[in-house]
């Protein structure tokens, strides 16, 4: 069961395996706590803020792309 917990969180397991895990979890506080800590780890990772691309880098890239297009056309 331990090896399938990420698939369980991701909803990637067959329903009967999910039910088996649900049944075990209902009577196993240590496994409940472990699953919660794994779920929270995933949530914290997903909660990391997005990186922004600086405006000057966008301008540089657009200019570089424009030049490659022009050289390709000529």
């Amino acid at each position: 069961m331990f090896s399938r917990l990420s698939e369980y969180l991701d909803g990637e397991l067959d329903p009967e395996i999910c039910t088996g895990i649900d049944d075990h979890m209902a009577d196993c506080p240590p496994c409940q706590a472990f699953l919660q800590s794994l779920r929270r780890t995933v949530d914290l990772t997903r909660d990391l803020p997005d990186q922004e691309i600086p405006d000057d880098m966008v301008r540089e890239l657009v200019e570089a792309y424009r030049k490659t297009r022009q050289s390709g056309e000529s």
Binding site: S3, D10, C18, Q51
Partner: protein
Amino acid sequence: MGPGCYGSPMETVEADAHLLDAIRRDDPAAFESFVRRYGGRILGFGMRVCGDQEAAKDVAQETLIQAYRSLKDVQDPQALRSWLYRVVSNACLMRRRKKKYEPRRELSLEELMPSGSEEASIEIPDARALPDDEAAREEMREAVHAGIRELPVDYRMVLLLRDIEQLSTRQTAEALDLNESTVKMRLHRARLMLRKVLVETLA
């Protein structure tokens, strides 16, 4: 208690379909739209894989134009991100290999299982209930970043694509040229390792 549901967001697929349409029509604004949509994500991914900002910037500059040119041939909007991250992952790995040789390290499940000595009282905080204090939130984010940096690069890339870039298992497998079972195995071990690092950091 049911399973969580971490799926591939539908709005992402729709936005990618619009973007691909603009690229195929040769819309003059499409390249800038593409850069604004994916440039930050590519920079962030490059930072976390290559380990420094300069390398990430170089990777983004090298790959955004290269990947964009190939996107005209991509028919399925769901394949856009797999294709893009395939180009970027390869560029990051090439750059890392030039820098230093890194032995491949597999993580065994046994070393990632909770030990008997693990502090039962240590609770990983809920992302939706972090303190209002910005300094405390930033400290937690830095702990997550540090944990991600400790992952072996093969595992780190899978975790980044699945949990940060939110690619599906199939898209991640396509991007990294792996089978889906390997993606699932590496993702699980990466999450377990990150969890272990967070528990140790919070102890």
